[in-house]
């Protein structure tokens, strides 16, 4: 991101897994990323081990304030398996023999 002055928002962490700050989320919204999925794809917010359990609602709230809509109108991202971290090697080995 472009150089800009430090603000207190730089010290507010929204996505702990991927270390995305409130300043970064607000910058992305200002650039026109207006859904949780879009913000997720450019910033990785919500793609870490907790899969958005911490940050999803905080980002939804930021979007609601910025867009002037109630939180329930903020579209939720797509939920896909696995919902918890699984090693690729585990999946690659295929189903365990019983």
């Amino acid at each position: 991101m472009a150089e800009r002055e430090k603000s207190p928002d730089d010290n507010i962490v929204i996505c702990r897994c991927e270390d995305v700050t409130l300043a970064e989320i607000r910058e992305l919204i200002a650039q026109g990323y207006h859904t949780i999925d879009e913000i997720k794809r450019v910033s990785r917010a919500g793609m870490g081990p907790c899969q958005g359990r911490t940050c999803r609602q905080l980002i939804a709230r930021e979007l609601a304030i910025a867009l002037g809509v109630p939180v329930e109108q903020v579209e939720m991202p797509t939920f896909r398996p696995p919902s918890r971290p699984v090693l690729l090697s585990t999946i690659a080995r295929g189903e365990a023999d019983e």
Partner: protein
């Protein structure tokens, strides 16, 4: 691929009660939890439950899982799996994917009961990633499960029952609670819990919030401030407080990833903590193979979770044609018990939320 009649995901109070009802019906039942031991949040609830004897009034939360497991482990048609991740649900085939210590397992289940509980909400304030900032659930786990003191001076944020109870348990562990801040104008939890804190001399600052955590490497203090009616910080009201732990108890939100994966109709109900599956009176979701139980269907507490779990278990078994003894009478009693728990001023919000989440007329 393994096949079962009913798979129950999550072995907290809701999942344990659901699995017991399924097991009693004769259905082949699989109960899965990602923790190494069953119980969910019960494993740290050292206080005695109140309410009805049917929901273990007078028993400490930590004793309840053993009561369930004692009965479940005698049932040949029930399989228990701990330390197993339920990582996905594929609605088109009814297949669950599980991960057991590096082994990938597929299970085809005719019915799935989602009892995955809830996650703690976070709060956006400056330096909220400093070591020493904890969720209240984490503090409770450290103290009551592992016997570890989280610190010496705690600022508690949030005055719901979790914030109040964890504050009191901290005091019992000889940790100082310097203050409890609450952004709303009133205390959120039960008066009986708040009164204990006041008697212990803990200041409860309503209409106050945390502005920032102080410290370089770890928490050394916090700046708190008054908020106005639109939740904005009143200029000039900031003040510093010395503490080494900031404990966040700002509410829970249902863990419903698998319900989204199952394509269930979801509704945003703030009174229940966020998005919850639409359900009928018997806890069945819009996908008829999927049931919800406990906090995953709306954040309440352990007694109501056990009731909704039993309702979901009986209903799921019945839907597959299993004979559940006295099913109608039991369902009637359970629904009456739920209504009793939700009566009173604190239950009003829950009742309104449940109404929003329940399909019109109570049936799909």
């Amino acid at each position: 691929m393994r096949e079962v009649d009913i798979a129950v995901i999550g072995a907290g109070p809701a999942g344990l009660a659901a699995a017991l009802a399924c097991g009693e019906s004769g259905a082949t039942t699989l109960l899965v939890d990602y923790m190494d031991a069953p119980g969910g949040q019960l494993i740290k609830q050292t206080h005695k439950f109140f309410g009805s004897e049917r929901q273990f009034a007078g028993t400490r939360g930590i004793q309840i899982p053993d009561i369930f497991i004692g009965r479940l482990s005698k049932m040949p048609n029930v399989q228990l799996m701990w330390g197993v991740n339920a990582s996905g649900y594929y609605a088109d085939s009814g297949v669950l994917t599980l991960e057991d210590g590096g082994k990938f397992i597929k299970v085809k289940a005719k019915r799935v009961i989602i009892a995955t509980g809830a996650a703690e909400k976070a709060l956006a304030f400056e330096n909220n990633d400093l070591p020493g900032v904890y969720g209240a659930g984490a503090v409770q786990t450290l103290m009551n499960v592992h016997g570890v003191k989280p610190g010496d001076r705690v600022l508690m944020v949030g005055s719901g029952n979790i914030g109040l109870i964890v504050s009191y348990q901290l005091i019992q562990a000889h940790v100082e609670v310097i203050a409890l801040v609450e952004a709303a104008r009133c205390i959120g939890g039960y008066l009986v819990h708040a009164a204990k804190l006041r008697r212990a001399g803990v200041p409860i600052l309503t209409s106050h919030t945390i502005v920032r955590a102080l410290g370089e490497e770890t928490v050394r203090g916090a700046v708190v401030a008054q908020v106005d009616q639109s939740w904005q910080v009143k200029p000039g009201s900031e003040r510093e407080m010395a503490c080494d732990v900031i404990c966040l108890a700002v509410g829970l939100t249902p863990l419903v990833d698998m319900m989204w994966q199952a394509g269930c109709e979801m509704r945003y109900v703030p009174a229940l903590g966020g998005h919850v599956p639409a359900r009928d009176e018997n806890m069945r979701a819009s996908n008829p193979a999927v049931y919800v139980a406990g906090d995953a269907g709306g954040v309440e507490e352990a007694s109501s979770a056990m009731i909704s779990g039993e309702i979901a278990g009986i209903s799921a078994a019945k839907s597959l044609g299993f004979e559940v003894q006295g099913a109608e009478a039991r369902l009637g009693q359970l629904k009456a018990d739920l209504a009793a728990i939700r009566s009173g001023p604190t239950g009003e919000k829950i009742c309104a939320g449940v109404k929003c989440a329940t399909v019109c007329g109570g049936e799909w």
